[in-house]
Symmetry: D2
Subunit: 335 residues, 4 copies
């Protein structure tokens, strides 16, 4: 019997980034790869194969209505978030039982490590300490640690208790932190059973020593953390902007941190690349990272492994085990 | 019945650094504090009280022979290492059953956090990434992570598997690292049962991706990690000098790292303060910290709590539970 | 605005078993309870309310086709397994986006504790040891432990790596066991990343010291563990029948264990109650339990909490977080 | 240079019980074995070798004063508790720096597993449930679980927070228990940092659902848990007598449990073997075990491994890492 046909059109990712050789071998054993190049497939080429496709591996959605894809059983996206409902007809997907899968879970551990690293770097002054050693202004031992603090036993707040928080919490657990979370999409008792106290956003901001912004952007949370809320943050707290700048009043954030209101570590920005003259580049009390939390080459290939695992499951008539299935309730809420 | 007399002479520490108010209260309830100032007690003052002292809280040992201290039951040192056997007569201590206790365990967690923070900062380019953002040279996402690596699943080597390693291992455990250790003072099967593979030093250096120098200085390990051994380290490995520069050929280390042989994070130096013109200040592929791993003010008071806990135990005729008792076999070996 | 109408018809469960007072309060605040009695709702009564129902809390499915339920958004079953596809039209559920939720996850921890307790009881001879003390035939210390073994470091096999195994594995983790699993519904690399080695069933049976049968009954696994496979089990192994007798050739199991081939602990039987004269009642090398692993009264109310949490989520337009959603791929496979 | 001479006189243990072949090989490579038989060495034979012995591996102490042992550096006892101070001159040991080591730590994990198994068996009715299945009186599911309870989230009390508690706590941790401990030999803040609440004995007995007696017998704790204290135990609690009957008013315990006051699991008795007509044999609400918690043959050889490891360390001039060193403060307190 012929192998099922899979469209592999990962642009703007590259197949070589996604698949380790052994995963590529498994993939090609499993299915007939259509296209498989790093440029987007031309519309006419797509039209000629659409009717036979069992699954599509891609970023976002640029393939129009699903009527042209009668055999489609799965959409596996390798960008990091489900395709926009403005582009993909999710209602048709759910009615036809087409799985819409995101590789977002692949980023959890890698981003969590960066978030932890930035939190320790901020609390222990690792970036500033290196600068002082090079400028000859360093101070030693206690004298150099006047503003330092450790994570041990601290109150930590998660804004958004989804995949990133689930990857970060075990890294913080050995420090004996107290965990709080704000997540309006989850039942309080579910959060509690994870060893986390569900809490209102204002209370989280005003009482936590370390605050991680981990929520995905939604219709409801644009600018959620506005100036008023930023002003609730304690002077000696660290605020870490990890998931998306979209959730924060970024100008207010830069302004407040430059006033020395609290410490900040930032990996994501309203516009990337950040404009050359953007004030954040000259900000104080900040550690800046250029959207580097997620994409570490050697770990990136976890995406390919997930894609092959779940494709294999689906082709065997089993549910996917690794990628994140789109949920009917959330599709309309995501941005 | 009168309270036992305790000499509190913590110089060069300060009592206020060591004791939180509630611990100070417990201490003064427990014993009559003699001296208790931050300057060293003058010899004549000491001579006038020596005969009545039940315990001495101090750094190092500057009180001469033990004959003058007939009632002494415990020496609690708050500097971080047992007094030198050249100054303190340990044989007399062991024969008289005088406990010689070090607060070294108080530093384990704080130093371990810094070691983890430096390891992540080196692997993820946190220090360099901040510098590039400020100079406008940053690159984003994958392009900015060409040399980045995570701790997940990496082979990690501990040089010295004592207190620091025991504090660091649980922080690394969630990353699923493979642990190796070189420690000639511990039985192989003991190390194995901690989930760590005992290994020779050369193999550790040549096979580990992340290497932590955590051993205490001894008669045997000065310059243990010499140029030949440093040259065994893999190009993409990170070498973290955490416990003491004494164990390493420091000049060779700086020279090799400047050749781009591997990455280094350094918290301790042969001479501190580091001379203004020392080449390490201009080194590449390094993260520099000015001996700031251990002494974080708010955590420092763990020392006072340990001192009071163990003093209380000893005065009640119980063994100390928190500080580190000098071991007859090791006294002669420590430096 | 009026509260949504929820049919509460938990027969053969009882509402009082399911809902702690505080959960009952939350439930009634959230929705208008229809019926709510412990007997099944009469068809005519159901017919009169069906059109207005937003959700149904029940065991199994006795409400016919879904056409009569135009507003239905969720079916929350409180029996422990999804309704039979012979009774419920899952295709319609998936097309209409009706959530079909099972309380099965509520049983995981309770069953896992019993499975662990039976495994220790078998390895340490707890049941037999008590009998001998009462009959005066006991032997002490080593003499009484000739056949005893501990779980420490043993090779443990999970037949079925679903919810029960996920609840049991953390209870076994502190014993440093080596974990193997046979589960044809999961990708090998997914199992591996849980710290478990995926393995063939025959190898599992012939190499594990402790074997847990944890799989749910499916179209494919009736009598999966037949006489030939049972004969693969090592003489000193313990075989624990926890999920369903359906997976095993039960007569062969009793016969082999009576020959002293291995040890067995059994909580589930082909027919319950077990016939008075069934040979299993007189079996040797066995620990028998009367289907008591799952239903512990004080823990049973976790079901009610899950029902209210997920109902709340669904009524707020959010995905359920606690109960198990029916998966299109599995519906046809479950029995 | 000649090998050091070690007296191996383990009576009433047997060398074959203690040493796996590979450990025996290590031992004989390390030292010249004197005697090495399972009967006690005759006094005259001992006298002829005493002067040359570097270490003695034995149970208890039957070798008289230490003057006859000028070269002795270590006493390694393989019975499970340090030799009685009435037989061994500890003062001389401490003055001469002779290590007195106990193999007690080898028993921790094995006893902890039994303690956990008994706790689950009592809470889940495993012993009684098996009896009922055999007598045909069993009831199923909820009806059979009216008195059952799980460990999840329960308040657990440790009477004695030494080695056994340290081995048991990690086995209970996955159940999310709340831990309390009574141990007058440990500082409260030390206990707290283990995640355990230090508490008075009466409060522990009157508030815990599961109570483990784990303390070693001392001069101070004979009959510590007397009738008055036993009467504090809650009706639905389980009381587990694991370490020594010496700590409990045993007659009162049997009497109260027969009144149905609470549940009990017993592994240790005032007299062993228990007299044939002792009422405990006919007691209700009890699970009885004949001092079988500690001595499981395949795990017993951990003792030999510890002996060889620590002997090796000591002969290399290093401190022992595995066995328990006698503490001057405790010697006089132990019974």
């Amino acid at each position: 019997m012929p192998k099922p046909k899979i469209l592999l059109d990962p642009h703007s990712r590259k197949s070589e980034w996604l698949f380790a050789p052994e995963e590529w071998q498994r993939l090609t054993d499993l299915a007939e790869i259509i296209w498989g190049k790093d440029d987007p497939i031309p519309p006419e080429s797509f039209a000629s194969v659409a009717a036979e496709l069992t699954a599509i591996v891609t970023c976002g959605w640029r393939f129009g209505p699903l009527d042209a894809l009668p055999r489609l059983r799965a959409i596996l996206e390798v960008g990091g978030s489900h395709p926009s409902p403005r582009l993909l007809d999710y209602t048709a997907c759910f009615q036809r039982g087409i799985r819409v899968l995101s590789c977002a879970p692949a980023f959890g551990p890698v981003v969590a490590e960066m978030a932890l690293g930035l939190a320790i770097a901020a609390g222990r002054g690792i970036v500033e300490g290196d600068r002082l050693m090079r400028s000859g202004e360093e101070r030693y031992s206690r004298a150099g640690n006047q503003d330092a603090f450790t994570l041990y036993g601290k109150r930590v707040g998660f804004i958004g208790y989804g995949g990133l928080a689930h990857s970060l919490q075990p890294l913080l657990a050995p420090f004996g932190c107290e965990f709080l979370a704000y997540d309006p999409w989850l039942p309080a008792s579910y959060i509690q059973r994870q060893g986390v106290t569900p809490i209102g956003l204002d209370t989280l901001l005003s009482t936590c020593r370390v605050i991680f912004v981990l929520a995905v952007p939604s219709q409801e949370n644009r600018g959620l953390i506005d100036r008023r809320r930023l002003e609730l943050i304690q002077p000696d707290a660290t605020f870490l902007l990890i998931s998306r700048a979209y959730l924060v009043d970024f100008d207010a954030l830069v302004e407040l941190v430059n006033q020395g209101r609290f410490r900040v570590a930032i990996d994501v920005y309203p516009d990337e690349p950040v404009p050359p003259d953007h004030p954040v580049r000259r900000s104080h009390n900040t550690i800046l990272s250029s959207h580097r939390a997620g994409h570490v080459p050697e770990d990136f290939r976890a995406i390919g492994r997930m894609v092959v695992d779940d494709l294999e499951a689906i082709l065997h008539g089993l549910p996917p085990a690794e990628m994140q299935s789109a949920q009917p309730e959330l599709v309309g809420r995501l941005r």
